[in-house]
């Protein structure tokens, strides 16, 4: 599986598509039902007591798609339609978004997730990443801070105005001449927090780079973050709400997502440290009781399920303890709740204290 630092050329992918097509025709000509093997990948399992191989980036079995099952045939139909589109994109050196592809056959695809799955299947079949197929996402992430780079000839000089937000480039391959004087990278879960920091001129007072994926990070954001980490070798801190969704977003940055498990090796950032908010912060920072919301049944179910993930036991036991504490307390709160003390409490007090605390612990 190729990553962002090595380029699979279109020629290779076109060759693989042709080989795939010929194998199908060969099976049909022999009167055989074609078998399409699609490897399965996962980033975690629930067997946290045993030594699992989830972190080894190896496939975990195959799915075999055949013409014998109606569900398989529908999936093959979608896969071939998307493959035809990808084939044309590669031959003509054009790009399309996943949403563009969806609208080419909306009645057949019925839902964006159907297209997403087909693209993933093709990536696994052709052993490449999504961007290699010339399928792009609309960039959703924002970045600001002490860095400068070029993208497709356009200069992004964040250093001159470190509190100005810029859209994260969609095609990481187009990022050139990356320069930074930052001391660390800060990831924030929500755009509202990102804007809070921008308004407080956080980056003027703190030599850092701030990134947000505006919720669950898209692939472009994760790839850009991975580029920064690999190029700049800076510590990475993550600030999320103290709730199950925030924790899941943190885990996505750190370990990757199940949907993109086949590419997790090139998307996750193992260096990420969880800055906050922790359940204990509600007491440590005197958060009023009215800001502590009860966990819903769905929250509890999701939290209990996340606690079963093997990596929480094997790699980040402290994160698991904090998550268990959240479940035991039965409450959650947003980062913005800390602004009860002052509007700039987050940027002037909380974040600097937290970073200092983490830095001190690392030195110890």
């Amino acid at each position: 599986m190729e990553g962002i630092h090595s380029r699979i050329c279109s020629t290779d992918l076109l060759r693989k598509i042709k080989e795939f097509t010929l194998s199908i025709l060969d099976d049909l000509s022999e009167g055989r039902s074609p078998l399409i093997f699609i490897q399965r990948f996962r980033i975690y399992c629930t067997n946290f007591d045993s030594n699992c191989s989830c972190s080894c980036n190896k496939p975990n079995g195959h799915e075999i798609l055949t013409f014998q099952k109606e569900s398989h045939v529908h999936r093959i139909d979608v896969l071939l339609r998307v493959l035809l589109i990808v084939h044309q994109l590669l031959q003509e050196n054009k790009h399309a978004s996943k949403r563009d592809i969806y609208y080419m056959h909306p009645l057949v695809f019925s839902d964006q997730t159907v297209v997403d799955r087909a693209i993933n299947d093709i990536c696994i079949l052709l052993q490449c990443s999504r961007h290699n197929l010339n399928v792009v996402s609309v960039g959703n992430g924002l970045v600001m801070g002490w860095l400068r780079f070029f993208e497709a000839g356009r200069k992004f000089d964040c250093i001159n105005s470190p509190n100005t937000a810029h859209t994260i480039p969609v095609l990481v391959e187009d990022v050139k001449d990356l320069v930074s004087v930052a001391h660390y990278i800060l990831i924030v879960e929500k755009e509202s927090v990102f804007q809070r920091l921008a308004n407080d001129k956080f980056c003027s007072k703190n030599r850092c780079i701030v990134i947000t994926g505006r919720g669950y990070p898209d692939v472009s954001t994760r790839r850009f973050l991975r580029l920064l980490v690999d190029k700049l070798c800076l510590p990475v801190y993550c600030l999320v709400d103290c709730d199950p969704y925030g924790f899941d977003i943190l885990a996505t940055y750190r370990f990757g997502s199940m949907q993109m498990a086949y590419d997790a090796k090139f998307l996750r950032v193992p260096q990420i440290q969880w800055l906050g908010a922790f359940p204990s912060d509600s007491e440590n920072y005197n958060l009023p009781q009215r800001f502590l919301l009860p966990l819903t049944m769905e929250d509890k179910r999701r939290t209990e399920a996340m606690l079963q993930r093997c990596y929480l036991h094997q790699e980040v036991p402290r994160w698991r303890s904090e998550l268990e504490s959240m479940l035991q307390r039965g409450t959650k709160f947003e980062i913005e709740a800390l602004s009860v003390h002052s509007l700039s409490f987050l940027s002037e007090v909380y974040i600097p204290w937290k970073i200092q605390e983490v830095t001190s612990m690392c030195h110890i």
């Binding site: 079995g61 195959h62 075999i64 084939h87």
Partner: protein, 444 residues
Amino acid sequence: MTRTQDISIETVSFRSVINGSVVATLKIAFEVSDTGTGSCLEEFQDLKYNREGIGTEKWDGLLSIKTTVALKYVFPFLTPLMPCTQRSNASFERISLSADCLLFSLLFSSPLTESAHLLVLQMLILMIPCVAAELVIKQEDSPGLLCENIFLPNECNPLNFSSSNVERLKSGLEEYVLKHGNILNNKCDSCFCSRKQLKISSGVACSMESQRGPGLIVETVIAISELAESPCFRSCRNKTEVLHFKDFSPCSIPVASLSALTSIDWRSYGLTLRGGVDQVDHALIEWESLPPDLRIDMAIHCYRKCKHQPDRHLIKKAVKLALDDFKGKYTGFLLSAHAVKVCSYAPDLASSIAGIILSSNDSEFQSKCASLLGLMQPQEIGRQTVEDRIKGMIITVIETNDRKPEKIKEAAPLLFEDDHPQDPEPTPYSEDYEGGDDVFSFSE
């Protein structure tokens, strides 16, 4: 005893006379074998009759047949008309039966009713080799013959004496359908331009003899007619007449057979059962959405040496064997509902594959594809031809696979898997959110 011109057929006739008037005449023809017992006409000169136990005022006489040749085919010929007092005014009555002797009496007071007539026509399906019968009824007060030659000996039976019972049943049902229930003397040319319009299959299921009882044999024959333009059939083609035979005699369908028929998974053969009804002389199965040009007929024959009760499982097995035999012999027929659905994807699959081939700028790749498709260069022959060829290949593969037994069809969905990843978590929001606002709110 009279002799016909064909010396191989001996005809015995006797009449029923009431008050001195001939009411009915029955001729029984016995086919004489070439060798062995029954090969000499003189043997039949010993045929005797006696009048014991029967009022002579109504009978010319009784015929006692003593023969060791195909006795089983003679005796069952009589049983359809027993008991007969409720059915018709024509009756056969078996007086006694032994291993080598059959004694029967005949009594006619009026023409055979339709039900008895139908039973006799159904008897022909069994193609019993050694019996041919001609039944003539004449009434005194009617000009000419009321019913003449209701059925004739099957002189054209292509089967020889050594053919199996199921082969006879197949042949008999074929003739029955081609002749519209054996009403016609010959195949209906209006409905059947070619015999290929009629497709036949069979299945035989046996149970072994055990301490519980003798073994049972169940034979099933299925006939499917393709009748695009049929002037003879009524609109009720979505119904199937299931003829049931027991020990070489037509009989009403037992509960076990009806139960077996309704318990079959007809959807695996592309059929949907609406219901089954037990008629007087046959069972009627009704289908949902049977193609308008198809008609299905079926015959089930259960027999054993001794008396037995119909076995539901064996009947079901025999019917399924006949259905599987049909699927195996005739491509594209009785496709399961699942296969039909899968085939519906064939045009789209073919279109995508053809698109990849034809849009490629690699001529060598296109040549390889053309070779596998058995075509000339795809660009020279056009997209539709390429699509049609691929579609045909896909459909062939699906149909071939549909004919395989269930246990072979299933493909392992996963290989080399340690455990199935348990994901009790709800589906997370897609990480590739295309919008611009925060996803989550805690408004609940």
